[in-house]
Every structure is written in structure tokens, then in C-alpha cells.
């Protein structure tokens, strides 16, 4: 139903924003569908990279295997744990929002964002070490492994870009929560931001074994 409902008699902080063409329940369901559709596009975006990596790997297992030894599985594993934990706290943030527990929302979002930062720090440590081993584009060993490292940088780079964007989105949700605009009646920004964050985690769940473990 898209009948606009009558506004509640007293507008409170934390109410869903009023839009002229639909009621707030439709707006929430619509936002969720819209976000999942967007997540679908992200899956397809990364599909190209996964497909490239998979087909090239199958055509030259040895090179890919050798190349993957340059990756440190402990750092990758640590990043995996960090992201999984951040997904956990993100889910708790939504749970807190559903219950109207504003400070818990803020706390969990904050921890999630910090984890994202840690992920990026570890990533840049990895990148720097690659640079010193001549494995950056233009480095002396870069071309020894055919397209492996090119794909590695594109995959982790685009993923890292999504981490940065996620930090921004969650940061915006955090600000809204701090201002009291999030309540059990309206927590769409938090839930949408967290769903996006889960996708970032999902991608890494596949990236880690693909790049670090099976090579």
C-alpha cells in the first residue's frame, strides 16, 4: 500500500522522515530492496575479477602457486578475523537500533569503523612489503608472475576502496545516531550501512582463501 499515512500527532526526534509519495513502512521496505539490489550489482562487479583470477589460475597453476607464496597468510588471516569481528559488531549495532539503544548503536558502529581502519593498516603493510620486493607494477619481479599481481592489486584494491567507502557510510550512520535521529521506529541508515558492510566482509571471505591459501 502506498497511501500516505497521517502524520503522528507529535513529531519526535527519531521519527522516520516524511516523504510525499509513500508512507514510512513502504519507504523502509523500499530502501531495503533498493540496497539489496545494489548489493547484487556489487557481487557482479567482483564476479569479473573472481572469474578472471579463476580462469587464469586454472591455465597456469604453477605460476599462480609460486606467486601466492609472496603473500603472508598470517596477515591475511588476521585481516579476516578483523573483518569478521567488525561484521559481528555491525550486526550488533543494528540489533541495538532495533531496540532503540542509542549509545550501544554508537559504540558498535565505532568499533566497526575502527576495525575497518585496522584492516586498511594491515593492508598497507602488505602493499609496502610487496613494493620492497619489486612486486609493484613496474617493479622488477612484477611480470614474472604474469597477471597474478595485477589481479591481486585490482582485487584487493577495489575491495579496499569499498572498505573506505564503508567507513564513510557507517560514519554517517554513527553521526545520525549521535544526534538522536535513530530510534526503534527509524533505523534505516544504520541497517543499510551495515548491510553494505556485510557485503564488504563477504567479498573478503572469498578473497582470503583464493589469494592467500590456494594461490
Amino acid at each position: 500500500m502506498s497511501h500516505p499515512t497521517t502524520a503522528s500527532p507529535v513529531a519526535r526526534l527519531g521519527d522516520p522522515p516524511h516523504v510525499h509519495h509513500m508512507d514510512s513502512a513502504t519507504a523502509y521496505a523500499g530502501a531495503k530492496l533498493g540496497l539489496w539490489l545494489f548489493l547484487a550489482t556489487e557481487v557482479l562487479l567482483f564476479s569479473v575479477l573472481f572469474a578472471s583470477f579463476t580462469i587464469y589460475r586454472s591455465m597456469d597453476l604453477e605460476t599462480f602457486h609460486k606467486a601466492s607464496h609472496h603473500l603472508d597468510w598470517r596477515l591475511g588471516g588476521l585481516n579476516t578475523i578483523v573483518l569478521l569481528f567488525s561484521s559481528f559488531t555491525a550486526a550488533l549495532a543494528v540489533d541495538a537500533a532495533q531496540k532503540g539503544q542509542q549509545s550501544r548503536v554508537v559504540r558498535n558502529l565505532f568499533i566497526t569503523i575502527c576495525c575497518a581502519g585496522i584492516f586498511l593498516v594491515i593492508k598497507s603493510i602488505e602493499y609496502t612489503s610487496k613494493y620492497h620486493h619489486g612486486l609493484f607494477p613496474g617493479g622488477e619481479h612484477y611480470k614474472d608472475y604474469k597477471s597474478y599481481f595485477g589481479l591481486y592489486y585490482v582485487m584487493t584494491g577495489i575491495h579496499g576502496l569499498h572498505v573506505i567507502i564503508g567507513m564513510g557510510v557507517l560514519g554517517w550512520a554513527l553521526l545520525l545516531a549521535r544526534k538522536g535521529r535513530i530510534s526503534e521506529r527509524y533505523y534505516t541508515p544504520v541497517e543499510m550501512g551495515v548491510l553494505y558492510w556485510h557485503l564488504v566482509d563477504l567479498i573478503w571471505i572469498y578473497l582470503f582463501p583464493l589469494l592467500y591459501l590456494v594461490g
Binding site: 557481487v43 564476479s47 580462469i55 572469498y206
Partner: protein, 130 residues
Amino acid sequence: MTSHDDGHGELGHILPFSVYRNSFLALIALTIITVLISRFDFGSFNFVIAMLIASVKAGIVALFFMHLRYESPVIWACLGVPVILLFILLIGLFIDEPFRGKYTPAVLTSDQPKASEAVNTPAHAGSHSE
């Protein structure tokens, strides 16, 4: 646990904390398992096993953290259809690259080629690697 045993907020399902906690612990356990298994050599199965475990982890994140378990079929399709398309893409690639054979066209001379000297057919698919 069924979807209506949990508390029902105004907008969505509220899950008990244990669901989130257990999911997280399962994810950590599976991560450890996946690292340990990669130490062994199962040949080409390494890849399959790793992807399978990753898919279980992904399933936990999607079903419980993302509440997919309680969402409508339309939302399920938002995740399911892209995955299907990824598989279609992979199939298209994997019936191509590994099956490319060598073929040598007959060199046409100024004489009329005899019928039996028609263009060679490609070598057996799959028996050559580039």
C-alpha cells in the same frame, strides 16, 4: 529457531544475542579450519574445499548477520541471481579456454586444391595445453 519465536520489533526481526555470538564463533572456527586444511595437499580439490568453506561462512554472514533468513524471496533473489550469473560466466569461460585446440589451415597453392586437401579440422579438443 523459527522466525516468530524471536522478538518482533516494529520494523524487523530481533534476534537473540546468542544467534550473533554463535555465528561469530562459527565464522572464526571455519576460518581456522580453512587455514589448517590448506596446509594439506588435496591437489585440485584444495580450491573446491576452500571455496566450499568460504561459502558456508558467507552463508552464515548472509543468513544471520544480514537477516536473509527472515527476508522475502525477492531479497533472496538479489543474492541468488548474481551468483547464478557468475556461474554462467564461469561456464562460458571454462568451455572456451581449456578446449582451444591448434588448427593448421591448408596452405593454398596456385594449383587447384583437391577436395581431399580441404582445410584441416582442429586437433582434438582438450588434448593440448598452450
